[in-house]
Subunit: 234 residues, 2 copies
Amino acid sequence: MTSSALHKSRSAERALHLLDTVVTAGSISLGDAARVAGLPTSTALRHLRALEHDGYLDRDPHGAFSVGPTFLRLALTALREGPAAHLTKAAQPHLDRLAEVTGESAYLAVRERSRAVYIATAESTRAIRHVGWVGRAVPLAGTAVGTTLTGDGEATVHRNTGAVEPDVSAAVAPVLGADGTVVAAISVLGPASRLDHTSIDAVTDAVLAAAGALEGDLRGPAGQRGDRHDGGAP
Amino acid sequence: MTSSALHKSRSAERALHLLDTVVTAGSISLGDAARVAGLPTSTALRHLRALEHDGYLDRDPHGAFSVGPTFLRLALTALREGPAAHLTKAAQPHLDRLAEVTGESAYLAVRERSRAVYIATAESTRAIRHVGWVGRAVPLAGTAVGTTLTGDGEATVHRNTGAVEPDVSAAVAPVLGADGTVVAAISVLGPASRLDHTSIDAVTDAVLAAAGALEGDLRGPAGQRGDRHDGGAP
DNA sequence: TCATTGTATTTCACTAGATGAAAGTGAATA
DNA sequence: TATTCACTTTCATCTAGTGAAATACAATGA
């Protein structure tokens, strides 16, 4: 094949990429956005204006682009309703308990193509702690989350990994869906100095327990079974 | 003009509209999405698959589309960082205080084309209260928020309006930016039975005070001035 | 088990619509 | 006032998006 799969929409892909660029940057000029997206300024401008016209982007008096009200509406809707909200809502109590028990920050992550995205957290209460990774994407390759999200259901432990940031250790467990596939990962992240050989075993157990409990909740939160319209295997 | 402004991207606009459709629906089949967006199924499928390919959408085993990890990442980023986060973060304490003082639910809204979007809230603690409008869009015409967002800086009171929902009364005040334009609106919404002729005057005063205080915070949160690279008027 | 109905998917000829180089405009700096 | 840099507009070129129709698939009922 010449470039990609059979027939997508080039302009749509570019517009989405530009949207991603602006959201990630927070606020960005036409020139910078075009450079980041790898487009001629005239093409970038046309797309950015279209996005602005539809309310996905705003433009300040100096010409810089930022997120607009339409995108905000969609963002809030996606995070408060819909399938993703179920997952994070179900996971939150388990993350909270993990953070309390282990004293470190707990995260929920899902897979995005060849990256992992952290979509929920409960922060450690310690002064030195792992913070601010919600909304952030990290590569799958070489990370504990990545190994877990692409793996076959095994828990993963990475000690003092330098893959994303140095001096961070992680214990990660997969959350399996009804069909046995990995739908998410629960992880505890903390300074390698605290998560040493001894303590990380206990943390791993806690993470595995939390993942198992979440799996149970996702199948039938209140002991009720069969909330979907399927026949079910005998 | 034949249909719209000079030259946008049709396919990009359609893809965005489909994204909006799926996010709003939470989970939707190809046929329904195509119907809602007013597109032939073949065209809708191509776009939806492109969106799925990029991670903006997910597809469950039954073929239904829902929000994907890429969109989740952008949603979280937009709501936690960037210009919009400043606004909601600055507004939250004022909304909380408004809800406490008035006993009703307080909202922050911004303009989206010909609609108003609620982007933050502090809920009333009463049993009967106004809830769940965050992420929701209402028309500008005929609503108190709409009048305020399009108006010239005057506070607006609507009693027992049937514009969006019956038996709801509202007191709304504009939040002005540095250049005097309306950047947002703060509103208190509650049952018309509680917000009667007498009480709504007090509520209106409280809303106006909150809007004024927020304006002050947006200009210089901690008494520090000149955090932007401009000369400033004498 | 075999028809039936309602989706989802693939194909393909057509041309509407996207593209980007280059010229133009405007507003900061020096 | 000259210079520079960023944004905007234009327009000839032709790629890439379009959608009707045919096909495959899956779920229901007889």
